[in-house]
């Protein structure tokens, strides 16, 4: 069987059993096909708690690079599995970029998981510049204050807060359109940003 056909048929998370089912082959043949793909760099192997092997088969494994989701998953207790591909090559994506990307996705779970990045972010100038570029300064500020309520975070610089804190002329904005918080109204008022989370949503961090 051709390598590209194998790759397309087996792309995703697989076990020996699932490979056998998909290709209708015996166990030794399934092992051989995985071996062929591994030799070409398409396979990453993990082990389950029962010591069974789980194969992650993807073209991305060969291409290398890192995604913002890898960074978020590295630091967050809430893990994200996504079909979105945003691979970065030739540089290590920063935490600040990952946070700004997460907010821009407007995905509830991605933003929730990315709150953990505030524990590690130290380059506030970089974060401010990125936030300003993407017009999300207030969203970053509000999410920071929210994170501060549930976990130990690095201190935000006064300059960041002063530059981005809400002014009278600002209108309320959403982090995720249509979603408001019942439990963090004080933060919402301070930053003039509607937060998409309630207390119960943040259980994963406690």
């Amino acid at each position: 069987m051709q390598k590209t056909i194998l790759l397309q048929k087996l792309s995703g998370i697989q076990t020996i059993e699932s490979v056998r089912d998909i290709l209708h082959v015996s166990k030794p043949m399934a092992i051989y096909y995985i071996h062929r793909l591994r030799k070409n760099g398409y396979v990453k192997t993990r082990r389950q708690s029962n010591n069974h092997r789980v194969y992650s088969i993807s073209i991305d494994n060969k291409l290398g690079g890192k995604s913002y989701f890898d960074i978020i998953n590295m630091y967050s207790p809430i893990k994200i599995s996504t079909s979105v591909t945003y691979q970065i090559y030739g540089k290590e994506p920063g935490l600040e970029e990952a946070l700004s990307y997460a907010i821009k996705t407007r995905s509830l779970r991605t933003i929730l998981a990315s709150l953990a990045l505030f524990k590690k972010i130290s380059n506030w100038t970089r974060l401010y510049n990125l936030a300003k570029e993407n017009h999300i300064e207030r969203q970053v500020g509000a999410l920071y204050d929210l994170s501060k309520k549930i976990m130990k975070v690095r201190r935000m610089t006064k300059r960041f807060r002063n530059y981005s804190l809400s002014q009278k002329k600002y209108r309320f904005e959403y982090v995720i359109p249509g979603l408001k918080s019942r439990d963090f109204v004080d933060i919402e008022k301070a930053w003039k940003v509607y937060l998409p989370f309630n207390k119960a949503d943040l259980d994963g961090f406690l």
Binding site: T4, K9, T85, Y86, Q87, I88, Y89, G90
Partner: protein, 223 residues
Amino acid sequence: MITIDQQQRLLFNVARRLKEKITAYAVGGTAMMFLGFKDATLDIDIVFENEKDRNTFKEAIKSLGYLEMNAIKVYGVKRNTPEMFTLDEERFDLFVIEVIDFIFSPTMRKRAEQIHQFGDKLILKIADPHDIILMKCATDRLKDKDDARKIINLTKINWDIIVEEAREQIYLGKERAAFDLGYFLEDLIKMDLDIPQQMLDKLFDIVEKQAKSKKSKSHSEEK
């Protein structure tokens, strides 16, 4: 031929030499490599949103030693041929929005969801498989038919997307889009590919309507 590893290294080298941040779209064989349909390609096909981005990219590849070549040698006498640059066996085909007989439309750009960023300056979005098939019918080469066959065999194709895009192309002024696509797909059927007859009927309907409206227009002009 350029392999995946060579392509990665090359694009990273280009990104390092770019003077400005640019976003471009990978189409053709390059996109197929990023999507795992192919191991190697003859050329790196890239579509830019504007001439300025193409010039920035051109400067970067020229500084790597690439030399301009004549597009007629590869594409024949066609409109909207790319600017081509070559070094040894590697070749860049650089388009701006128009890819031979097709426009890289806003809907195509929206469908290009996979993003690959090289360094800080080169963001490459990968064309959707449906759009790769469409653009393959713009060129009349056997290898393009082979590529389209590979994609159709290996992925689930939503034929409605392809018909809708053909309509969009006509709306954008590419009147031959439905006709060329139908012709291309008929060739693929001859290669034993399973393409639904309904889809061909829809394309034929579009072409028929186009012909009728042209006829009535010419009649009214004569009167």
